[in-house]
Subunit: 324 residues, 3 copies
């Protein structure tokens, strides 16, 4: 594996999920694989789960880890080509990425979208340039449009919590929020679940209010409804998530009806397990009564971030030793 940016970078979906679960049972069995290999984690935005779980995964593999809070400890980055850098940006991503590639065997980068120019955000310009110029394998720690370590984690968590022979019904349910959030997590979850559905691993439904349709490239094959209660009927897993509008890009539209999941709504489901990528706004996105109930698997889900990262890093390290 030379990059981990979208589900397309995974050749065999069940394989990587199985491998992550084997690593969870036996975290240190590849503890020598990363000897003398350095992982650089570059953050242009805040991070708790991604920061710590990826560090932990790398330590389990015996890697050296260096964290770079580029937004605070480094220099303001320029990504545009063909302009004279006479403004406030101090270093071009061409140099910054190439230099970090000199010091690191694998790089991870987090960069949120600005939510102002859809075309710019969806071009994934920064991320693609980072890959192009760094010259080493790159893991997305969440980019403008995707969060693949989260999505792999989500599949692992569903697998861990499903013990029946029929396919689970998985619902991604839009939830209210006070801020405009990126589409990266829902895009990515949809992309991975549509792939899983195509491989017979699940049935996937998305429920959101009018005005919150995601880009079709991520949701192709999903059942989509504007009626939350219809979606919740017989759901085995409910993935709660807010996102801002893709159509009226980055905006928050007023919605009619109640979209926060609570106990009475939960009763519509098939005793569903409740998932969320966190951080979650209690009693805005999701009722505390649900979060604090045994239905919630959000902490287990967050814990699984380690094994998703470890499975990805393991494959990159194996590729490095093949390429040598």
């Amino acid at each position: 594996m030379k990059q981990f940016f979208s589900v397309a970078d995974v050749a065999n979906l069940p394989d990587i999920v199985d491998e992550a679960l084997r690593l969870k049972n036996n975290p240190f069995v590849y503890g020598q694989l990363g000897t003398h290999k350095t992982l650089g984690l570059v953050f242009l935005n805040p991070s708790l789960r991604t920061r710590l779980s990826t560090q932990k995964a790398a330590a389990n593999l015996g890697m050296n880890v260096m964290v770079m809070n580029m937004d605070k400890d480094g220099w303001a980055l320029e990504t545009r080509d063909g302009i004279a850098m006479n403004g406030t940006t101090v270093e071009h991503i061409r140099e910054a990425a190439a230099v970090m590639g000199q010091y690191c065997d694998v790089l991870g980068i987090r960069s949120f979208p600005k939510l102002q120019d859809r075309e710019a955000d969806y071009s994934e310009d920064l991320f693609q340039k980072f890959i192009a110029y760094s010259g080493v394998p790159v893991v997305s720690l969440e980019s403008a449009t995707r969060h693949p370590l989260q999505s792999l984690t989500d599949l692992i968590t569903i697998r861990e919590n499903w013990h029946q022979s029929r396919k689970p019904k998985v619902v991604m349910a839009w939830a209210p929020h006070v801020k405009a959030l990126p589409q990266a997590v829902p895009n990515s979850f949809a992309e991975w679940m549509c792939r899983a559905q195509g491989e017979g691993m699940a049935e996937f439904t998305i429920a959101h209010p009018p005005g919150y349709t995601l880009s079709e490239q991520f949701t192709h094959g999903a059942t989509i409804t504007h009626v939350l209660d219809d979606a919740l009927a017989d759901a085995d897993f409910v993935y709660v998530k807010n996102w801002s509008s893709y159509e009226d890009y980055g905006k928050i539209h007023p919605v009619s009806g109640q979209w926060m999941l609570n106990h009475s709504r939960l009763a519509l489901t098939n005793q569903a397990k409740i998932m969320h990528c966190l951080p979650v706004r209690r009693d805005v996105e999701l009722a505390s009564e649900v979060l604090d109930s045994p239905h919630s698997i959000v902490i287990q889900q967050a814990g699984n971030r380690v094994w998703a990262a470890q499975a990805v890093l393991k494959r990159m390290l194996e590729q490095l030793s093949v390429d040598k």
Copy 2:
């Protein structure tokens, strides 16, 4: 040891002091104890000594360390229950603590008081919730009302510098400052010294101006005076420290008389050793002529932070292997 928050978490005071001094003489003898164990250090406030000494202690024990500057690199934390999170806080401590507990075998957290609401600060709400929700052993890196790693260090340092059969006279002397500081360090030093006095290890006196009485729960058994020179008479150790008012909570009262320790004041003592937790405001809290004299043991004291942290982490690691 499953938590280290106050002196009550230490079963045998002389034992842990002795152990810390043995570790100082032989820092790497338990270098395998922390193999495959991760320490997470969570800072909601600045830190120099605590940050570096605790990292160093963990490294001496072979632990993996992850540092999280929550105030800058993570998300704004909510601690209140029963409110809808529709304001500026992004993540509830219930989730944040539980998630970090997924990634770390032991956690440390630093959180200063706001000095605005005494009841809120002294409830130690954040720290207690962090313990409750993280599910792993937690070390205080200074909480609203206590700084136990500092106090253990202080006892170690007094032990190291006392070679007579009689009990040393230890004086905690209030000192001037330009800002309102928490009571955490003086509360904690008093709590530990009162315990030490009760076990026949020292005689403990506190000197402060009127209006600066500490909460009696920390000072029970100490001799308390408003006359600094009386306290200094025959003192073997003088612990210099400013704090803001506990009574008129978080306020600075004008004080009469001179409260800064200088050479002429030092002459009243029994050639006392001078201690301070640092950082110290030179020539405001403590005269440079004292700080730069052989009487000052503040650097040795700061160095001992490593061994206090290492003794505590060692006990937590041993407990983890027992619980397994």
Copy 3:
């Protein structure tokens, strides 16, 4: 080696360059030298290359590394003596340095000049006090007037790229910028190149506009011209760098003529290799057409920062074991 602050701290210049290149070929051969040794990296200013390359170098030697962003995660430092600390600075460098020396076997520190008071900056007061009070070997990560890890890197890179028996002609060419930058990098490069020239390793020329003369202590022996094209004639290496005025301290003077290196200027040289310490302002300091051409060795140069740091740290570790 007990300090690394200027070229004067290097006894034998070709030796350390050779050693760095041997380390590049065999990075892990001294992987046990740093066992149980801790490097503390203290940043008072932003850093990308220095931060990551020095961490990497220390890891290659098996050292434990602790990074301290003093400007953000610690306390505001006072450096003046003889004043009462009743202002905004919280800790004096006397204590801060001494305390960090308690926790670390080797320290590195970065501190930029303020560019307001030449005498203050050129006294290197902060750096010298840090050395004096820390009590351990100190590596400059760039001080007010010098950047020796960069300059050693530059010599390594020239050596790597020169395979002829005659001495290479090395030109340091002033370049335009939008901000007032320190003289640390050009001072340091000049200091190291003048030493190299004195030892028959190169011929060294500096080209800058009137008003940008560097302090003679750094440039003694160099050929200095105000005519860029004259300097470029037959150049084998061109080191592009902006600096603010030393004479009219910290100021930017309007310059006449074109000072940015581009393809047509490059044609004047002997197919010169182009160097820059980075970050570089594209199409302000240096034309993109040059940066993106095979003439540019700026990424290789940045990569070599690891080997310069590793050679210096190796010597300090060896000294520590001698002193023991």
